[in-house]
């Protein structure tokens, strides 16, 4: 029988050398990647928002809660600015160094990664974890591509009217409810040397998607817009053309940032609103995170945006602003799915802290007023309860960054300033939109959008 003493000195030393080299070269990996048998697993999770309060809240609540339930799994969080994220994530996925779990801005950004084989299909997990019973159907379906679900929605959002309540009260103004009221109000503000809407795109021209979202929904209405997005009507439809003309009217009159939208960043524009030189913002629900900080010297309010065409009732353009997906190459599928499930555990528990991560995490699940913690602002709670109700009834419009195919959206946001600056006609703009949309439709890149209630 061979005994340990049978190992000679050379074998022993070489064995120790190999073991030592292994430990020295990659000590963390050796200990972190022992998944089976209860040893700890390290999951990497990437988000596209490096704001310190958001990162802290994600760590304190989302990750800590998960690690307490699954002590053998450690989450390593990496937070990148959105502009870097666009560049880094695809490169990392293609290089095989991508995260195990990652956020994205919306499902429309995923198809290239899905087709490249970098995203894990989730259909089995949807059933196993019961996400189909928790997540709003249309929101969950927005993650479907070529018949399979590849992402789950983790934040819904909309656009609203933020306004300076002090200036409104002082001047006897009321929030506008239709086109006529809006234009009269804007003119009055201009006459008083105030800028009606603060808005800037100098740092990111694609921010025009906020105003285009509002424009299309406000004039076309949600149902007609659904028909356009579903290829049942062309982009050259006269109603869509008139929607663009209305936006043009607002811009030419100087109601939107005094026609200086391209000369200012949106942070500059927010500064103008903060200094009370501008009265209103047409901004997203994510602005609830810092509207109070910006409005430090005045009371502010949030309300529904006015519709622009008679007979069009207000429906909030709701869309998915953040999704979660799993790297198909991850070694720890089960743990990644468990982490994904963390986002939908219990509405009451989520309601305790999700107001701290506005813009990154507001899962599209049914929540009641009593689910929200008391220190969440009334504006936050009321706005989201309204959106939950609209979603339940099917009274929703469409956000550009969620429901538009990528290239059509890119063309429209990058060229609307050409229309406003008379470098392109509305007709040319819509014809080119239709041409790109038709190509995307032919290439199977137009995702179905949920039909709203009539």
């Amino acid at each position: 029988m061979k005994t340990l003493t049978a190992i000679n000195r050379r074998q022993f030393l070489s064995g120790m050398a190999v073991a030592g080299a292994g430990l020295a070269l990659s000590p963390r990996d050796v200990f972190a990647q022992q998944a089976p048998g209860g040893a700890s697993v390290k999951l990497t999770y990437w988000i596209e928002n490096p704001a310190a309060p958001i990162v802290a809240a994600i760590k304190d609540h989302l990750i800590t809660g998960f690690e307490q339930r699954y002590p053998n799994v450690k989450i390593e969080l990496a937070a990148y600015p959105g502009s870097d994220f666009r560049r880094i994530l695809p490169t990392a996925l293609a290089a095989g160094t991508g995260p195990d779990v990652f956020n994205e801005f919306g499902a429309s950004y995923l198809p290239p990664a899905i087709d490249g084989g970098y995203v894990l299909p989730l259909d089995d997990a949807v059933r196993k974890y019961g996400w189909d019973k928790k997540i709003w159907k249309w929101a969950l379906e927005s993650g479907r591509y070529k018949g399979k679900i590849y992402s789950v929605p983790t934040a819904y959002e909309s656009v609203h009217l933020y306004y300076n309540r002090d200036l409104f009260d002082k001047n006897g103004w009321k929030p506008p409810t239709n086109w006529a009221e809006l234009t009269v109000l804007c003119k009055d503000m201009k006459d008083k040397k105030l800028i009606p809407f603060a808005f800037g795109v100098r740092d990111r021209v694609s921010r025009w998607d906020w105003w285009l979202t509002y424009t299309f929904n406000a004039y076309a209405g949600n149902y007609l817009l659904w028909e356009v997005l579903s290829a049942k009507r062309p982009w050259t439809d006269p109603v869509i053309a008139e929607a663009i003309n209305r936006l043009d009217q607002l811009w030419q009159a100087g109601y939107i940032m005094d026609k200086q939208t391209s000369a200012l960043t949106h942070d500059d524009a927010l500064g103008v609103w903060s200094n009370q030189d501008a009265v209103m913002l047409m901004d997203g629900t994510w602005r609830l995170s810092n509207a109070g900080i910006l409005a430090k010297n005045f009371k502010w309010g949030i309300t529904k945006l006015p519709m622009w065409r008679d007979g069009i009732k207000w429906t909030p353009a709701i869309g998915i602003g953040e999704i979660l997906a799993i790297n198909a190459k991850t070694k720890y599928q089960e743990q990644a799915l468990q982490f994904m499930d963390r986002f939908f555990w219990d509405p009451k528990e989520l309601g305790q802290w999700m107001h701290k991560v506005v813009g990154l995490f507001i899962p599209p699940i049914d929540m009641k007023r009593e689910d929200f913690v008391k220190d969440a602002s009334p504006e936050f709670v009321n706005t989201h309860l309204d959106l939950i109700e609209s979603s339940r009834k099917g009274d929703f419009g469409f956000l550009m960054w969620t429901s538009w195919p990528a290239q059509t959206s890119k063309f429209q946001v990058e060229n609307i300033d050409a229309v406003l600056l008379r470098k392109m006609t509305t007709k040319e703009y819509l014809e080119k939109s239709q041409e790109i949309f038709t190509k995307e439709l032919k290439d199977g890149l137009v995702a179905p959008v949920p039909e709203p209630a009539r």
């Binding site: 290239p112 694609s206 200086q260 391209s262 000369a263 200012l264 960043t265 990528a406």
Partner: protein
């Protein structure tokens, strides 16, 4: 009968071969690195320009379709090309004139020459992103230079510096010129200091005035410096990216778009890596025209 070949090389030949091999050995690492970090990616870009690669899916060969789109349907690319030509024209004249004029004046200064040199060169050491941000504040239509103009009763001078497509490109150029011209000044100053002062003394004794000395002595003697500055400026102008990217993102309405910003936007934002490669190949070809032009001039005996 065939001539006999010497069986062994002489000692001189061996030494020559040894020297050549030694030279090759010294250059080999640099060539290897260059091939790895420049040659291979360049070849890859050439190959990718013939595909519809989006960075993640498998690339599909589409022949010259990207170049067809670029030439016939991509109006933004040609606008960017024209903007690059404007940019080049301005940078071949304004900073060169400023740099040369200032260098001549400083070279004649008997005191504080180093101080002038440092002061005028200082903007060049600032990071372009910092300069872009500073000029972004200056151009702010509400709180920037416009406010000063209005306070001084010169409101008619207030402009939408970055918002008006007619002037936005020149506004961005102004920021870059402010940053860059000190470099030209230092290069010209260094060249001026190489000119033998006795030449000027002789010319002065012969009755040449200041202008004639400048025109018939300084300018011809600076010809190699002009050649270097003009060639580098032309190349850098075609590769300009940072100022536009930070200050305007190419807007409004692509009026400040340059070829480099359009390439990045196409590759990253639009995720069309194949098409962006075609744009990059075209940019390389257009830049090569400048190099070839300078090589041609050199072969014709022009000292550049």
């Amino acid at each position: 009968m065939a001539q006999a070949v010497p069986a062994t090389a002489g000692p001189r030949d061996l030494r020559r071969m040894q020297r050549r091999l030694l030279g090759c050995a010294f250059v080999a690492p640099a060539i290897a690195v260059h091939l790895f970090v420049v040659g291979l990616p360049a070849l890859a870009a050439l190959g990718l320009s013939l595909t519809d690669w989006d960075g993640l899916r498998l690339p599909r060969f589409i022949g010259l379709a990207n170049f067809d789109e670029l030439i016939h349907r991509d109006g933004v690319f040609w606008q960017a090309f024209v903007n690059n030509l404007h940019w080049t024209a301005v940078f071949l004249t304004v900073p060169v004139a400023l740099g040369l004029g200032t260098a001549v004046m400083i070279s004649r200064a008997s005191r504080l020459q180093t101080v002038y040199r440092v002061v005028f060169f200082l903007p060049y050491v600032f990071a372009s992103v910092v300069v872009s941000r500073i000029f972004g504040f200056i151009y702010n239509p509400f709180y920037g230079v416009n406010k000063l103009f209005r306070n001084w009763g010169l409101g008619f001078l207030a402009q939408s510096w970055l918002g008006d497509p007619g002037i936005a490109l020149y506004s961005v150029m102004a920021a870059d010129v402010w940053h860059f011209w000190g470099f030209d000044m230092v290069v010209f100053l260094a060249a001026l200091q190489q000119i033998d002062p006795s030449l000027y003394e002789a010319a002065t004794i012969d009755g040449a005035g200041g202008w004639r000395r400048f025109r018939h002595m300084t300018v011809p003697l600076l010809r190699p410096t002009f050649g270097f500055i003009l060639m580098m400026t032309a190349l850098w102008s075609f590769l300009t990216f940072d100022y536009v990217y930070v200050m305007t993102g190419g807007g409004p309405a692509h009026s400040t778009e340059l070829m480099a910003t359009w390439i990045i936007g196409t590759a990253v934002e639009a995720r069309r890596a194949g098409y962006a490669s075609a744009l990059a190949v075209t940019l390389t070809l257009l830049s090569s025209v400048i190099i070839v032009g300078f090589l041609y001039l050199r072969r014709r005996g022009v000292e550049v």
